[in-house]
């Protein structure tokens, strides 16, 4: 019979890497029951917590990389265990200490981010190519707003339209905004959750220095991941500026009567809450207010919306890793949307755009279902 002995040294490694919250876990299993993975495969969050408590974690297991950091378990945990911090600590132990194996796809993205400042491995000087023909000005001291689109809309041809829509809206409204030079790098939120702490620190420092030296006061972002790290993590490293997600910014313009949406869109639209906008930052109403302001649009709600919203599967670095068919949360969402008779899944996150678009295509629903970022819908309705 295999006998387990507690391995104190391993526990200490995890604690030191930020896993301190695991001490509080009283093993009730609510996290496992809450975790969306258990709809499609077994993922015993509680057992990982206990293994970490005893230092009995299998660092070679894929379980270390499974968590999408959607925060559903953390919000419900009766002991307030920051489970995401524990997962991140396990990953740090693997990524920085080399105990265990980093999945290939993640390793390549991590290498790209560390090398050229974006996960796609694209040249830094082409970061603003998406706006080449739009004559967006460079951010200079005194410019009111910095628009920071996220690496995905900046480089991915399928998502560029998200950034271009924001530019179109800002131009129409004559908003004084600019793009920062190509020295900008990935915000680092996801790579930090994937365990690459040193990479995150260097990305954050680069961006903070860049923003500070350019006199940035207000940043508008398209990605809830950029939003989260700018708002919650950069200030600890000295980065202090006002951060607004595009949904907040547009909703306030609508509220003030500055943005009027006149073109009808006679479609049924269902909004999917991105985890980092919703659970992580409690922004639920603004995207819905924007959608409701579009004439003709019929807004539908998923049965598990808002605080209970299902993740697209792209958080915590999972966006770079492969998830086999049959285990993709975004497939479940697309199926739900189809059953509800939705024409469009509206999102407010580039990762969601990627995952849902992928699902719509692979499920053969491209004829009847579209995936749109809120900014795209607004630009079309102006």
């Amino acid at each position: 019979m295999e006998v387990l002995s507690p391995y104190k040294e391993a526990t200490e490694v995890i604690l030191e890497a930020g896993g301190e919250p695991l001490k509080l876990c009283y093993q009730c299993g609510l996290c496992t029951g809450t975790c969306p993975w258990n709809m499609v495969r077994s993922f015993l969050v509680r057992r990982i917590m206990h293994e970490a408590q005893l230092g009995a974690v299998d660092f070679g297991s894929e379980d270390v990389w499974t968590c999408v950091t959607c925060k559903a378990c953390v919000d419900r945990c009766p002991r307030g265990v920051e489970i995401i911090d524990v997962m991140r600590a396990l990953r740090r132990a693997v990524a920085s200490l080399g105990i265990g194996v980093v999945p290939d796809a993640l390793r390549i993205s991590a290498k790209n981010i560390a090398g050229v400042g974006n996960p796609l491995g694209e040249p830094p000087e082409r970061r603003n190519d998406w706006a080449k023909d739009l004559k967006v000005k460079d951010f200079a001291k005194g410019t009111e707003v910095l628009y920071f689109p996220c690496c995905v809309p900046s480089y991915d041809p399928g998502v560029k339209n998200v950034a271009r829509s924001v530019a179109a809206i800002f131009d129409r409204l004559k908003i004084d905004y600019g793009l920062i030079g190509t020295e900008a790098k990935c915000c680092g939120e996801a790579i930090r959750k994937a365990g690459y702490e040193e990479t995150f620190q260097s990305l954050a420092q680069n961006n903070i220095d860049l923003f500070t030296s350019n006199g940035v006061k207000t940043v508008v972002v398209s990605s809830p991941h950029c939003y989260h790290t700018f708002k919650a993590e950069y200030p600890e490293l000295g980065g202090e500026f006002e951060v607004l997600h595009i949904a907040q910014y547009l909703a306030s313009l609508i509220d003030k009567g500055k943005l009027k949406l006149s073109k009808e869109l006679n479609k049924k639209v269902v909004y999917s809450d991105p985890c980092y906008l919703g659970r992580h930052n409690h922004i639920y109403d603004e995207p819905r207010e924007i959608l409701k302001a579009i004439p003709g649009l019929e807004l539908l709600e998923f049965p598990d919306a808002r605080e209970n919203g299902l993740c697209c599967g792209g958080g915590g670095g999972r966006i770079w890793m492969d998830t086999p068919k049959g285990e993709r949360f975004s497939d479940i969402r697309v199926e739900q949307a189809a059953e509800m008779g939705a024409d469009i899944i509206a999102v407010a996150c580039p990762y969601c755009v990627l995952n849902y678009t992928d699902s719509v295509l692979s499920m053969g629903k491209a004829e009847t279902m579209q995936v749109k970022d809120i900014a795209e819908l607004v630009a079309e309705a102006m």
Partner: protein
């Protein structure tokens, strides 16, 4: 002026103090301070030999001021004052320095802690020189008790006191006494019928010559202090003359309007004029003014026509009753946590998700289903799930354990099996079966074939993924012992909801001047050694207003409060605080600010030789100091806390060693 001869005593408190503070060095240091004639350190100053050191030094060395540096004065200041008095000195010629809670327990650095202890002792020595002898006075104790709350705790306390032939005023907010226990069907672990053991007590309370019962009444105002609390009770208009009503129930039958019954947890309706349940005490009807169509809209009076006794009185008004009591027992009970806030459990969304108290009414023979466990559609459930820790042991709601849920869940499991033959699933985190006969009951239920699943329920859903789940409620959890996600389809789910403080506990606390803990329940004076007293003298707490507890513990606590009250009555007097305020009439302007600010109504502005000045009622003054702080001329001083004393202490603390 007499020569100041101070004795200083440094307590080791075992290693509690001596483990961090160098007590010998502190004693040596204190010995050199001006006025100190003897300085000693001793292992336990609170022990008899420790106290004897003080008494002997008073006699043999002529010590006339005493400083003990030890634990918190809350703990042992009375002990050492008594020792000083036994030694022949006035007890107020004593000063206490706290070098445990304020020093050794909160510091690690021995040198710095020792220095701080020296500072605290020096300040105490400086202050004690300025102490004056004070006279302790006694006042008569009013031999009657107010009990607030007529549940099992309040009734038990009232009966114990009344059986000792002392007067009790029992005030209950609802139309009948009985409390939550009157709603329970059977009681764990013996399964005896709750009403059968409760109603004789209710009847005794109702008829006791020493109990003045005020139901449908609330305590509105309390002033005064131990020995003589003045209480205002609002007797709400029930629009029925209690002396005429015979409790026949004809009025309720004829009342054309029905509203959900609180007693039946909304599972049945009652008339707008009603008697809450068959065994209600007093057995008189009450009109719920909020829903009465005549009182609200001026038309109906059906009850009046039905009442042969002519007891209906729509002209009745709220009445204020004033009583004076020596002590107060608070037994206001608990509220059940509303599980609807945990949206994933579907309470109120799904018909057959119930709370514990609702299930109690289902199994009760006198309840809305006459004791049958039925689903909303009238079928008998084939399977029942019990969800533990709903709102308890969960920092999103209540961090504490509600203590009774494990046991009542076992009781429900037994009843479900006995009355329906349903399969029963208990979803628990830890089984806590600590009382007499409790573990044995758990054992019995295991024998009866209840399924125990260790895991906190994540959600309850009607979203079926298999045919077996169709039309069922599916309880989703991890079976943490198997390490597998488990989905159990059942017909009925019972949520074991937390016990939580009353919604108006804050207000009750304000009226009585008693505090609450962070969890919202009332704070006891000492969690282990004075568990039914509050920090406010003469006010005691019993039952679930202090913390969740079961019936045996509640009854024991209620009896303890009765014993406390009877012991005060038996003594007959209360010792009044000697360190109270005093007015220098030569500089008092009679502005009246002291009168405004005093929470005990001690000062009043009077005319003396044609000059308006403040006069302190020494029986009411508690020495809190509010008047001294507000006084613009400095005319008011608190004895034992004079400006001279406090400043001497502060100066000593701030000067270099």
């Amino acid at each position: 002026m007499e020569e100041i001869r101070t004795g200083v005593y440094i307590c080791h408190c075992g290693l509690n103090i001596a483990g961090v503070v160098d007590v010998e060095e502190v004693a040596k240091y204190a010995g050199q301070l001006p006025g100190v004639v003897v300085s000693r350190e001793y292992r336990y100053m609170c022990s008899d030999p420790g106290q004897d050191l003080i008494k002997d030094d008073i006699k043999e060395l002529g010590v006339n001021r005493v400083v003990v540096a030890s634990c918190s004065p809350r703990m042992h200041e009375p002990t050492f004052r008594k020792a000083v008095e036994d030694g022949g000195l006035n007890p107020y010629l004593y000063e206490h320095a706290n070098i445990r809670e304020h020093c050794s327990w909160v510091h690690d650095d021995k040198e710095l802690a020792t220095n701080k202890a020296k500072d605290l002792v020096r300040a105490a020595v400086r202050r004690v020189c300025r102490h004056e002898p004070l006279v302790v006075r006694e006042a008569p104790f009013t031999p009657s008790v107010l009990v607030i709350g007529g549940g099992i705790a309040g009734m038990q306390a009232a009966l114990d006191i009344a059986n000792g032939h002392q007067k009790v005023y029992l005030v209950e907010r609802d139309p009948s006494i009985g409390g939550h226990m009157a709603q329970l069907d059977r009681t764990f672990p013996t399964l005896d019928c709750s009403e059968c053991i409760l109603t004789p007590k209710m009847s005794d309370v109702g008829h006791h010559p020493f109990i003045e019962l005020h139901t449908y009444s609330e305590v509105e105002e309390v002033s005064g202090s131990i020995g003589s609390f003045k209480v205002k009770i609002r007797k709400k208009a029930r629009y029925v003359d209690e002396s005429k009503c015979v409790g026949c129930g004809d009025c309720e039958e004829k009342c054309p309007w029905k509203v959900p019954s609180e007693y039946e947890m909304g599972l049945a309706k009652r008339g707008v004029i009603y008697i809450p349940f068959a065994q209600a005490i007093p057995n008189v009807a009450t009109i719920d003014g909020e829903h009465c169509v005549y009182l609200q809209k001026g038309k109906c009076r059906a009850c009046e026509k039905a009442c042969e006794a002519g007891a209906i009185d729509f002209e009745q008004k709220d009445e204020i009753i004033e009583v004076e009591v020596g002590a107060i027992i608070v037994a206001t009970g608990y509220d059940q946590f509303d599980p609807a806030v945990i949206s994933q459990y579907g309470y109120r969304r799904f018909d057959n998700v119930l709370t514990g108290l609702e299930f109690e009414r289902l199994t009760c023979a006198a309840g809305p289903t006459e004791g049958k466990i039925l689903l909303k559609d009238g079928r008998e459930p084939e399977s029942v799930a019990l969800v533990h820790c709903v709102g308890s042991r969960d920092q999103n709601y209540h961090e504490y354990c509600s203590r009774v849920c494990c046991m009542y869940a076992l009781k429900y499991a037994h009843l479900a099996k006995e009355l329906t033959k349903a399969d029963v699933y208990q979803f628990y985190i830890d089984m806590r079966c600590f009382g007499e006969g409790y573990e044995e009951f758990y054992n019995r239920l295991s024998e009866e074939g209840v399924n125990f699943i260790r895991g906190k329920v994540a959600k309850i859903t009607d979203d079926a993924v298999t045919d077996e789940e169709k039309g069922k409620l599916v309880v989703v959890s991890e079976d943490t012992l198997l390490g597998k996600l488990i989905r159990v389809p059942v017909d009925m789910v019972i949520l074991c909801s937390a016990l939580q403080p009353r919604a108006d506990a804050e207000n009750v606390g304000k009226i009585l001047n008693i505090n609450r803990r962070a969890d919202g329940f009332f704070l006891e004076r000492h969690v282990k050694l004075d568990p039914v007293a509050t920090p406010t003298d003469g006010i005691f707490i019993a039952g679930c207003c202090e913390a969740p507890r079961d019936i045996p513990d509640t009854v024991a606590q209620a009896e303890a409060t009765a014993a406390k009250a009877l012991s005060l009555i038996s003594r007959g007097t209360v010792t009044l605080e000697a360190a109270i305020s005093t007015v220098d009439e030569s500089i008092c302007h009679g502005c009246g600010r002291c009168e405004e600010v005093c929470p005990f109504s001690a000062p009043s502005i009077v005319s003396k030789n044609g000059v308006m000045v403040s006069e302190i009622n020494e029986a009411l003054c508690k020495g809190c100091g509010a008047c001294a702080v507000i006084c613009p001329t400095g005319a008011v001083t608190i004895k034992h806390f004079t400006q001279d004393e406090i400043l001497a202490q502060v100066d000593a603390l701030t000067e270099a060693r």
